[in-house]
């Protein structure tokens, strides 16, 4: 379903006198339909960079990312036009970032309901109902549903973030440390949620700081530039 072929990302920072920073280099892996791939490697190895290149938040500087899209057939995510990326983000690929990007004056339940309103054409009531159920499952207290996530704790924000990405059931889900700021109980709920999604056919690529956890939920682990820590 997705195949990274010699993917590389170099940042060229013009304002620091054309300083060059390497994000990731010669990354090749594939993910089959319904598979859960883990990305492992030392901090700074470029794991997040890879996910952001797939999601097109970063523009890859070398290599290809082949993806079998329902909307457009086989496409190279590294080079296709922006409107097609928007289409794919809308219908196919979801992304859980490390931190919630807060939307001012929008309550937790509406933050989570929004993807359903814009995507599946759900009615406002229906979307809010589903969002409420999902947040309840993620142990967000009912009294917080109408509050603004800007005031939430880190763990609560992260669970809102996960709920927002999971609720519309994307076909491919990119997970960047989704459990980093969660307590053990919340982690197990999230893991259960991800397992369910996998059973329903969602393919996933994930980064987890907890190796044991990663081994237990992924089908396979790809090591990102294992030699980089030696080279420095």
């Amino acid at each position: 379903m997705l195949k990274a072929d010699n993917l590389s990302k170099v940042f060229n920072i013009h304002i620091l006198g054309d300083k060059v920073i390497e994000g990731c280099e010669n990354i090749s892996f594939h993910v089959s339909k319904g598979e859960f791939l883990g990305l492992a490697g030392p901090s700074g190895a470029g794991k997040s960079t890879i996910l952001k290149c797939i999601y097109r938040t970063y523009l890859a500087t070398g290599g290809d990312i082949w993806y079998d899209s329902i909307l457009y057939g086989q496409v190279n995510l590294a080079t296709i036009a922006d409107p097609m990326v928007i289409g794919i983000r809308h219908k196919e690929i979801g992304y859980v970032s490390q931190f919630l990007k807060v939307i001012p004056r929008v309550s937790a339940i509406d933050v989570v309901a929004e993807p359903l309103l814009t995507r599946n054409g759900a009615s406002a009531n229906e979307a809010r109902k589903k969002a409420g159920e999902l947040l309840e499952r993620l142990n967000i207290p009912a009294r917080l549903l109408d509050a603004y996530p800007a005031t939430f704790s880190g763990g609560e924000q992260q669970r809102v973030n996960i709920a927002r990405a999971v609720i519309w059931k994307p076909r491919l889900l990119l997970l960047d440390e989704p459990t980093a700021s969660l307590d053990r109980e919340s982690v197990s709920i999230v893991v259960e949620l991800l397992r369910e999604m996998k059973e329903q056919g969602t393919s996933m690529i994930g980064i987890f700081h907890d190796n044991e956890l990663m081994e237990s939920i992924t089908d396979r682990v790809y090591r990102v530039n294992p030699e980089i820590s030696d080279v420095g």
């Binding site: 013009h14 304002i15 938040t57 922006d82 289409g87 004056r105 814009t118």
Partner: protein, 290 residues
């Protein structure tokens, strides 16, 4: 399955002054000026080309004087472009209801007569300016402001217009009982919302928002932005949002263009522009954000 853009703009250019063959080549970001060194004309924008898709919000960001508002004024026919092309793809279900002298499909709107431009604007476009004084008559009632626009779009029945105006004011969260008050009595945030209601009154397919939250305090700003997001979701409008504030752009726009000295220096997905800016100027702009 790439869908056809609703708006296709090519080489849009506006030159203030007599213009000369050197105007284009002696201005722009690489020359750090938009004044032609031979004839002294001001090149407000040049070579502006982009596409806008149905239901999409496109951002234009840049510092003041970069030409971003110029682009909106040209697209809304407030100003005549010096040259350039602009094609508007009408949707099929809208064609039946619209009273147009000619079919504008496939025609370069920039080259059409002022009369057809006005018809096109009344039928398909809405605009909200930074300054409510530009978009509203301050001494006419709010309902009257909306009615004025409906009359231009060939509405004639007073009761229907009143109905429409009260429905719109409700949508933008202004108490209907204040419909007969002139905008002069309203706060800045309320004036801005009346302007939005007026812009929406003819059910436009294209909405231009020019620095609409600049000068509003943050709580009012959040409320206006939330309103825009809601309207976009419910009405499937295509919008062009001009702002110098990346916060506004990040919240509203899927794609963004960065302008400097009248040129587009970079365009891309908004998160890519913010997290992986390519052009040196965009890098400065992004890293200067609070």
């Amino acid at each position: 399955m790439p869908i056809a853009p609703i708006l296709d703009v090519k080489n849009l250019t506006k030159i203030f002054g007599k213009g000369c063959p050197l105007c284009h080549d002696s201005t722009g970001p690489e020359h750090e000026t938009n004044v032609c060194r031979r004839c002294g004309s001001v090149v407000a924008c040049s070579d502006v080309s982009f596409e806008l898709y149905l239901g999409e919000i496109l951002g234009i960001v840049g510092e003041s004087g970069s030409g971003k508002s110029t682009v909106v004024k040209l697209l809304h026919f407030d100003w005549d472009a010096t040259f350039g092309e602009m094609y508007f793809q009408n949707t099929e279900d809208r064609k039946q209801n619209i009273d147009m002298t000619i079919d504008i499909d496939g025609k370069n709107l920039i080259a059409l007569s002022p009369f057809i431009k006005r018809q096109t604007r009344n039928a398909f476009m809405g605009v909200v300016y930074q300054n409510p004084h530009l978009g509203l008559r301050m001494d006419v009632s709010s309902g009257g402001n909306i009615a004025e626009r409906l009359i231009m779009a060939n509405w004639r029945n007073i009761a229907m217009m009143r109905d429409r105006a009260s429905g719109l004011l409700e949508k933008i969260e202004i108490p209907v009982e204040r419909m007969d008050e002139p905008p002069r009595n309203f706060s800045g945030g309320m004036q801005q919302r009346v302007q939005i209601a007026k812009a929406l009154s003819n059910e436009p397919l294209l909405l231009f928002l020019d620095e609409i939250t600049t000068g509003l305090d943050v709580s009012v700003q959040a409320r206006v932005l939330d309103l825009i997001r809601k309207l976009q979701r419910e009405l499937q409008l295509s919008m062009i949002v001009v702002s110098h504030d990346f916060g506004v752009i990040r919240l509203l726009c899927q794609r963004t263009m960065v302008m400097k000295y009248g040129r587009i220096v970079e365009k891309g997905l908004t998160d890519q522009i913010l997290e992986d800016p390519q052009h040196p100027y965009t890098q400065i702009l992004v890293s200067s954000q609070l």
